[in-house]
C-alpha cells in the first residue's frame, strides 16, 4: 500500500520549490497518503499489451513555417516583472552552477 512519509513530502516540496512549513508537512503527508491509496487501484490494471495514450486525439507532424512574427517590445516583456534593470529581468543571486 502506498504510504507517503513526511520526509518524502519534504523532499518532493524541495523538488517543487515550495517552502512548506512544519505544520503544512504534518497536514499534507497523511492527506497525500489517503489520495494515493485511492488511486493505487490503478497499478496493474493494464498490461504491456495496452499502449499508453498521451494525446487523446491522434495528430502528428504539426509544424510552423520558419517565418518571423512580431515579438513583444522589451517594455511589454518587462511590464509585469517584479524587478528589472538594464532592460533585463532582475533576479536574486543564483545558487549553483552556471548552466
Amino acid at each position: 500500500m502506498p504510504e507517503i512519509t513526511r520526509d518524502e513530502v519534504a523532499h518532493l516540496a524541495t523538488l517543487a520549490r515550495i517552502d512548506l512549513s512544519d505544520a503544512e508537512l504534518d497536514h499534507l503527508a497523511p492527506q497525500l497518503s489517503v489520495i494515493l491509496e485511492s488511486v493505487a487501484s490503478i497499478t496493474g490494471v493494464a498490461g504491456d499489451d495496452v499502449p499508453p495514450t498521451s494525446h487523446a486525439i491522434p495528430l502528428t507532424n504539426v509544424f510552423r513555417d520558419d517565418v518571423v512574427t512580431p515579438s513583444l517590445t522589451a517594455e511589454q516583456a518587462l511590464a509585469m516583472a517584479p524587478a528589472s534593470e538594464q532592460q533585463r529581468f532582475l533576479v536574486p543571486r543564483i545558487l549553483g552552477d552556471e548552466q
Binding site: D19, L28, T43, A46, P52, T53, L59, F89, I94
Partner: protein, 494 residues
C-alpha cells in the same frame, strides 16, 4: 437576445448596461466575478451598435455581452486564475478564445471566479473567496468554473466561457441549472488558456439554452495554428443541429445509458430526474440501450494522476522571476529561496497538494506505476467509448452524482471532493465532447440536477441535437425554463 438586437428592439449598450447593473445588484452576494470591466464592455457595446447601424454585424452574437473565466488570458484585463500568485497580472496578449469573442463583437463584462488554477469542484479554492450558488447562497456553484455558471444562473451575464479539465464546465452547469459544453479536445483553441492539465483542458460555452451554447461554440471554436493540438477540420453545423433538435423528434436516435454512471453513489433525486428525462426521450422516438464501460471505475484514479502530474510541471513557471507575486524572505535570499517562499505564499492548499502529488507521480521510480499506468487506462477508457458508440449515437448519464452541497462541507476531505467529477472525467480522458443541461430539481432538496450527453470526437453536433430536443421536451413539461424558477436574488441580497 441576439434576435432583439437584430430586430432593433434593444441595443448592445442597453443590454450591456443592464447586465452591469445586475452585477452591481447581486454580485455582492453571489461573488461570480473577480474583475468587472464596465468601461471596456460599454465601449465594445457602442462599437457593436455602430456596426449594426451600418448593417454589418461581426457575427450572429455581435453585441451580446459575455463573462470570461479568469483562466483565459485577456489583454489589458487582469488574469489571476483565482490565485494570489497572479494577483494583478495583466497579460500582454489575448487568448484565442478572447480574441475570437472580441472579433465577433461580444463585449466582455469581466472575469469570473474559479477554483485556484481550476483545481476544484466547488469554487471554494479561489484565493479571492468562494462563489455562491444562486439557487441557495449557502451552497457551492460547482467548480472549477463556478463563477461562470453562477454568473449565467444569476442573470449577471447572458453567456459565459468556462474551461473543463475533468468536468469544470458541466458539473457547475448541473448544479446551477445552466447549460455547459465541453467541446471535442482540439475543437477550441487552448492558446491563452492557463493550463492545469494540457491533455485534458478544453474551453467551452456556459449558457442558459442549448442553442446559445451552439452559437457561442461556433464563435470560439475551430482551427487555430497557435495550438498544436487544434484540429484542422470544420466544426460542423452546431446551431443548425440545435434548431433541428428543438423540434423534439428523436426518431431513429440511439441513446446509450452508461451502466457504470448511475445507481449506487448517486443521489436518489438526481437519479430520478435523470430516469424521467430518458423516458421523455424514448417517448419522443429515441431508442435506448444499456451500455457498459467497465474501465470507468479506474477513470478517477487515472485522472488524479495525469492531472496533477501535468499541473505540477505547468505551475513551475510561477517562480517570482518574471511576473507574479515575489516574496523576499529576510537575510540574503538566493533566487531559490525567493522561489520557495513565493510559491509557498502564493499557492493555496489544494494547489500545493496537487503539485506535490504530481511531482511524486512523475518522479523516477514511480513514473511507470502511476503516470504510465494512468496513460494506459486512458487507452482502455477510449476503447470502452469506442465499443459503446458502436451501439449508440450518444451516451447519457447524470452529470454529477449529487446536487450542490453546502459550502465547507467537503473542504477537508479531498477524496470526497474528487468524487464530484466521477461522471464527467471519462470524456476528458478520451477527448470526446460532452454537454450538461438542466433535468429539473431534485425532489428532496429542490436543487438543479444535470443531464449529461456525450458524443464521439468531432460529433459535437449530436450533443446539440439531442440536448436541444431534451430541453424542448422538458420545458414543455415544466411550462418554461428551469432558471425562471430560481429564487430572486435581490431579496437575498437586501
Amino acid at each position: 437576445m441576439a434576435a432583439d438586437l437584430a430586430s432593433g428592439a434593444t441595443t448592445s449598450v442597453a443590454l450591456t448596461r443592464a447586465h452591469l447593473d445586475r452585477i452591481s445588484a447581486v454580485d455582492g452576494a453571489v461573488h461570480a466575478l473577480l474583475h468587472v470591466d464596465a468601461e471596456g464592455a460599454l465601449a465594445q457595446a457602442a462599437a457593436s451598435d455602430a456596426r449594426r447601424a451600418a448593417g454589418s454585424p461581426a457575427s450572429g452574437l455581435d453585441g451580446v455581452p459575455i463573462a470570461v473565466k479568469d483562466v483565459l488570458a485577456t489583454e489589458g484585463l487582469p488574469t489571476t486564475c483565482g490565485s494570489k500568485i497572479l494577483e494583478g497580472w495583466v497579460p500582454p496578449y489575448d487568448a484565442t478564445v478572447a480574441a475570437r469573442l472580441r472579433a465577433a463583437g461580444l463585449p466582455i463584462l469581466g472575469k469570473t471566479n474559479m477554483d485556484e488554477f481550476a483545481m476544484g469542484s466547488s469554487t471554494e479554492h479561489s484565493a479571492y473567496g468562494p462563489t455562491h450558488n444562486p439557487w441557495d447562497l449557502d451552497r457551492i456553484p460547482g467548480g472549477s468554473g463556478g463563477g461562470s455558471a453562477a454568473a449565467v444562473a444569476a442573470f449577471e451575464a447572458p453567456l459565459a466561457i468556462g474551461t473543463d479539465t475533468g468536468g469544470s464546465i458541466r458539473q457547475p452547469g448541473a448544479v446551477t441549472g445552466t447549460v455547459g459544453v465541453k467541446p471535442t479536445y482540439g475543437g477550441v483553441s487552448r492558446y491563452g488558456l492557463v493550463a492545469m492539465a494540457n491533455s485534458l483542458d478544453q474551453a467551452g460555452p456556459v449558457t442558459r439554452t442549448v442553442l446559445d451554447s451552439a452559437l457561442l461554440h461556433e464563435v470560439i471554436g475551430g482551427y487555430d495554428p497557435m495550438d498544436s493540438t487544434s484540429i484542422d477540420e470544420p466544426l460542423g453545423a452546431l446551431a443548425d443541429a440545435a434548431r433541428q433538435g428543438a423540434a423534439g423528434d428523436m426518431t431513429g436516435v440511439r441513446i446509450g445509458v452508461i451502466t457504470e454512471l448511475g445507481g449506487e453513489g448517486y443521489q436518489a433525486g438526481v437519479q430520478q430526474r435523470f430516469d424521467e428525462a430518458v423516458a421523455l426521450l424514448v417517448k419522443a422516438g429515441a431508442e435506448v440501450v444499456e451500455v457498459s464501460c467497465p474501465s470507468f471505475v479506474h477513470a478517477l484514479a487515472a485522472y488524479y494522476l495525469i492531472m496533477p502530474s501535468e499541473a505540477s510541471s505547468n505551475l513551475a513557471r510561477f517562480d517570482a522571476m518574471r511576473y507574479g507575486l515575489r516574496v523576499v524572505p529576510d537575510g540574503d535570499p538566493s533566487a531559490e529561496d525567493v522561489m520557495r517562499a513565493s510559491r509557498d505564499a502564493g499557492f493555496g492548499d489544494e494547489v500545493k497538494r496537487r503539485i506535490i502529488l504530481g511531482t511524486y507521480a512523475l518522479s523516477s521510480g514511480y513514473y511507470d506505476a502511476y503516470y504510465g499506468q494512468a496513460q494506459k487506462v486512458r487507452t482502455l477508457i477510449s476503447r470502452d467509448f469506442e465499443a459503446a458508440f458502436a451501439q449508440a449515437d450518444v451516451l447519457v448519464s447524470p452529470t454529477a452524482p449529487t446536487t450542490a452541497f453546502k459550502i465547507g462541507a467537503k473542504l477537508d476531505d479531498p477524496v470526497a471532493m474528487y468524487l464530484n467529477d466521477v461522471a464527467t472525467i471519462p470524456a476528458n480522458l478520451a477527448g470526446i465532447p460532452g454537454l450538461s443541461l438542466p433535468a429539473g430539481l431534485a425532489p428532496e432538496d429542490g436543487l438543479p440536477v444535470g443531464f449529461q450527453v456525450l458524443a464521439p470526437a468531432l460529433a459535437d453536433d449530436r450533443l446539440y441535437r439531442v440536448g436541444a430536443a431534451l430541453e424542448a421536451l422538458l420545458e414543455n413539461e415544466w411550462g418554461g425554463a428551469l432558471l425562471d424558477r430560481a429564487p430572486a436574488l435581490e431579496e437575498a441580497t437586501a
